[in-house]
C-alpha cells in the first residue's frame, strides 16, 4: 500500500502496520477501520449482491459503503460493526442506486454452481436430502433473488448472513414484530415456490 505525502511516496503493508503509520492520526484511524470492517466484507458483499442483483453494482455499493463507513467511523458507537456497515450499505443502495429495470438475475457468484447436471450441493443432514436435492442451491438462490425487496432483505440477513433479530432490526430500522411478520411472509413464499409440505397433503 502506498501513502502519498508531499515529500515522498511511502510504501507500507496494510497487514503489518509500522509504528510510523500508527502515529499519523488519519492513517491510524484508517487502519483501525480496516481492522474492524474487512472481516465483514463477505457479508456486506453478499447483501449488496442480493440488493442490487448485479455484479458491478454490488462492487460499487460495497466500495461506497466502506468509504462512507470510514468517513463516519468517528461516530461508530462500537455496537456491532457488521450491522452498522450493512445499514450504511442498505441506505446507500436505497438512496443512490436506481432500481434495475432488467429481468431479475440471481446474484453473481458461481461458487455454488457446478457443471450442468451436477448436484448443486451435498446436504449434511440425511433428513433434508430430498428437498435439498430437489431444490438445489442454484434454484434457491434465484428464488430468493426474485423475492420482493421487503421479503428478500430479512431472509438474506437471517438465513444467509445469519444476523440476530436484534441486529436485523438495526439494519432495517423496523420493530421486531415487523421483522417477524416479514420473515414469516418471506419463508412462506419460499416454501410455496419450493412446494415444501405439499406432498403431505391428501
Amino acid at each position: 500500500m502506498c501513502y502519498r505525502t508531499r515529500q515522498s511516496v511511502v510504501a507500507v503493508s496494510w497487514t503489518t502496520e509500522p509504528a510510523a503509520v500508527l502515529t499519523h492520526p488519519e492513517m491510524e484511524r484508517g487502519w483501525r477501520f480496516r481492522q474492524a470492517a474487512l472481516p465483514h466484507l463477505n457479508s456486506v458483499y453478499t447483501m449488496a449482491s442480493y440488493l442490487t442483483r448485479d455484479t458491478a453494482e454490488a462492487e460499487y455499493a460495497v466500495q461506497e459503503c466502506f468509504v462512507r463507513g470510514l468517513r463516519g467511523f468517528d461516530w461508530y458507537s462500537g455496537d456491532g460493526m457488521k450491522p452498522w456497515l450493512l445499514r450504511i450499505l442498505r441506505d446507500f443502495c436505497k438512496a443512490e442506486l436506481t432500481p434495475r429495470g432488467k429481468a431479475l438475475v440471481p446474484p453473481v457468484s458461481d461458487r455454488n454452481e457446478g457443471p450442468a447436471g451436477s448436484p448443486d450441493l451435498v446436504p449434511s443432514s440425511a433428513a433434508q436430502v430430498t428437498p435439498l436435492r430437489r431444490c438445489g442451491a442454484r434454484r434457491v438462490r434465484r428464488l430468493i433473488a426474485e423475492l420482493p425487496e421487503e421479503f428478500r432483505e430479512p431472509i438474506v440477513l437471517r438465513d444467509i448472513i445469519q444476523l440476530s433479530y436484534r441486529d436485523i432490526t438495526k439494519v432495517l430500522g423496523v420493530s421486531t414484530d415487523t421483522l417477524l411478520s416479514r420473515l414469516a411472509a418471506a419463508r412462506s413464499e419460499v416454501r410455496a415456490r419450493l412446494r415444501i409440505g405439499e406432498q403431505a397433503a391428501p
Binding site: 500500500m1 502506498c2 501513502y3 502519498r4 505525502t5 508531499r6 496494510w14 499519523h24 488519519e26 492513517m27 484508517g30 477501520f33 480496516r34 474487512l38 466484507l41 463477505n42 457479508s43 458483499y45 453478499t46 449482491s49 458491478a56 462492487e59 460499487y60 460495497v62 466500495q63 466502506f66 468509504v67 470510514l70 468517513r71 443512490e96 446474484p107 453473481v108 457468484s109 461458487r111 455454488n112 448443486d120 450441493l121 449434511s124 443432514s125 433434508q128 435439498l132 431444490c135 442451491a137 434457491v140 438462490r141 430468493i144 437471517r158 438465513d159 444467509i160 448472513i161 440476530s164 433479530y165 417477524l180 414469516a184 419463508r187 419460499v190 416454501r191 419450493l194 415444501i196 409440505g197
Partner: protein, 124 residues
C-alpha cells in the same frame, strides 16, 4: 396462545429468538395442535434448505485489494477506490464539468493576456 399467534411465533422459535416464557406457550400449543405442528415441520425444512444451500458470496479478490487501500490521507480518502471504480466504468462522478470549467478558465486567461499585450496598440 392460538393458531394465528403461533403462525408467526414459530419462526422466532425456529431461530432460537423467542423468550423463554413465550417459547413455553408456543410449545404447549404445538403439542395440542396438529396443523401448527405440521407448519413448524414444513418451515423447519424451508429454513434448512436456505441455510444449507450456503449462499454466502465471496467478495472478489480485486475488490478486497482496493478496499485495503482506504484511506490515502493526502489525495483524499476515496481516491484509490474511486479511481478503481472509474477504471472499471463504475464511477458515478463525471469529470466532464471539471474539464469544461478548465477549458473556460484557460480561454479567459488567454484572452486577458492577448488583450493586455495589444492594449498599447489599441490606445495609440
Amino acid at each position: 396462545m392460538n393458531c394465528s399467534q403461533t403462525e408467526i411465533l414459530i419462526h422466532a422459535l425456529l431461530d432460537n429468538e423467542l423468550a423463554t416464557s413465550h417459547a413455553i406457550d408456543v410449545e404447549a400449543h404445538l403439542r395440542t395442535c396438529a396443523a401448527c405442528s405440521e407448519e413448524l415441520a414444513a418451515f423447519e425444512i424451508t429454513r434448512k434448505v436456505v441455510v444449507q444451500a450456503d449462499l454466502m458470496e465471496f467478495a472478489p479478490t480485486s475488490l478486497r485489494k482496493r478496499l485495503q487501500l482506504v484511506p490515502s490521507p493526502i489525495v483524499g480518502a476515496t481516491a484509490p477506490v474511486v479511481a478503481a471504480a472509474n477504471s472499471r466504468g463504475l464511477g458515478r462522478r463525471s469529470f466532464a464539468p471539471g474539464l469544461l470549467l478548465g477549458v473556460a478558465v484557460s480561454a479567459a486567461v488567454a484572452a486577458t493576456i492577448l488583450l493586455a499585450s495589444s492594449l498599447p496598440w489599441i490606445i495609440k
